[in-house]
């Protein structure tokens, strides 16, 4: 099993994800430079946090046109497991693989802190190791994490059980306390918190470990 990690100019959590997957879970990884198109041999793809292409224009807006993401789109549409963390979540919404958009935090501040969350795994393949309504803590680190979506669509997401992770205390003004969303198929997960920073008690708890390890089981 090998996990692909997308690397854009400006990604900065790509090595953290590699460290978590290889160092903590013993899963081999392969970096996917943004110009690459070849995903064969990969069992899942992670789009990590950072500032893809400087996040100019809008977070994730330019990344959306990266050659590697054309392949990731086919991969996701064929049922492949795709995880977008922080900037990766923003990229997934810009690509339209997940609905809505992530906008400036309500109080305009960059927030970097451990955040209590509630998990409702539904059919999401990345969250099958978590219990229904399980309380966990993961670090967040973002300036643009306020989830916005049309009300009708939000109601649909809610009804379909696609809001798989919510803030227990809403830090950024996200609609419906959304911290993480999955697609209808449950194979694509986007979330603002950083599970890769919570895979070792020394660096921020262990609550992210089961998410990244879910693919191994």
């Amino acid at each position: 099993m090998t996990i692909g990690i997308v690397v854009f100019p400006g990604s900065n959590c790509d090595r953290d994800v590699r460290w978590a997957l290889e160092g903590c879970i013993d899963l081999p990884t392969r970096f996917l430079w943004h110009e690459e198109r070849e995903l064969s041999g990969l069992d899942a793809v992670v789009i990590p946090g950072g500032f893809s292409y400087g996040d100019y224009l809008r977070c994730g807006a330019i990344a959306r046109f990266a050659p590697v993401l054309e392949s990731v789109r086919f991969f996701a549409e064929a049922g492949g497991a795709v995880l977008g963390i922080c900037n990766g979540f923003q990229v997934l919404t810009e690509m339209g693989l997940l609905p809505g958009a992530l906008t400036r935090n309500a109080r305009l501040n960059f927030i970097c802190e451990p955040t209590p969350l509630r998990v409702n795994p539904g059919n999401c393949c990345w969250l099958k190791e978590y219990q229904e309504s399980e309380a966990i803590v993961l670090p967040i680190a973002h300036g643009e994490g306020r989830y916005q979506c049309e009300e009708k669509q939000l109601a649909e997401l809610e009804a379909n059980g696609q809001i798989v992770m919510r803030y227990a205390i809403n830090p950024n003004g996200s609609a419906c306390d959304v911290a993480g969303l999955t697609n209808a198929g449950g194979n694509v997960l986007g979330l603002m918190p950083h599970p890769e920073r919570a895979c070792d008690p020394v660096t921020g708890g262990l609550d992210g470990l089961r998410l990244l390890a879910s693919l191994r089981n």
Binding site: L57, R58, A61, F65, T93, E94, P99, G100, A101, T103, R104, N105, A106, R107, L108, Q148, C149, E150, G173
Partner: protein
Amino acid sequence: MLDPAGEATRSAAARLGVEGVRSLRIGKAIEIELEAYDEITAQAQLQLLSDRLFANPVIENWSLELLEMVGEQLQ
């Protein structure tokens, strides 16, 4: 759609002593020079760029203003 940067700036306007600022929104302006066969083609291309790249229709509205035509129309 809440515009937190606009709201923050509006409250600063009051602190500066300018009362009566009822609403203030902050967005972006994009100046673009485009070569195209004719104006209709140019409009279509700008429409595509605005919808698919410059703005995210989930959170942003846009309008287009033609400032100047340079050179001759080829039609």
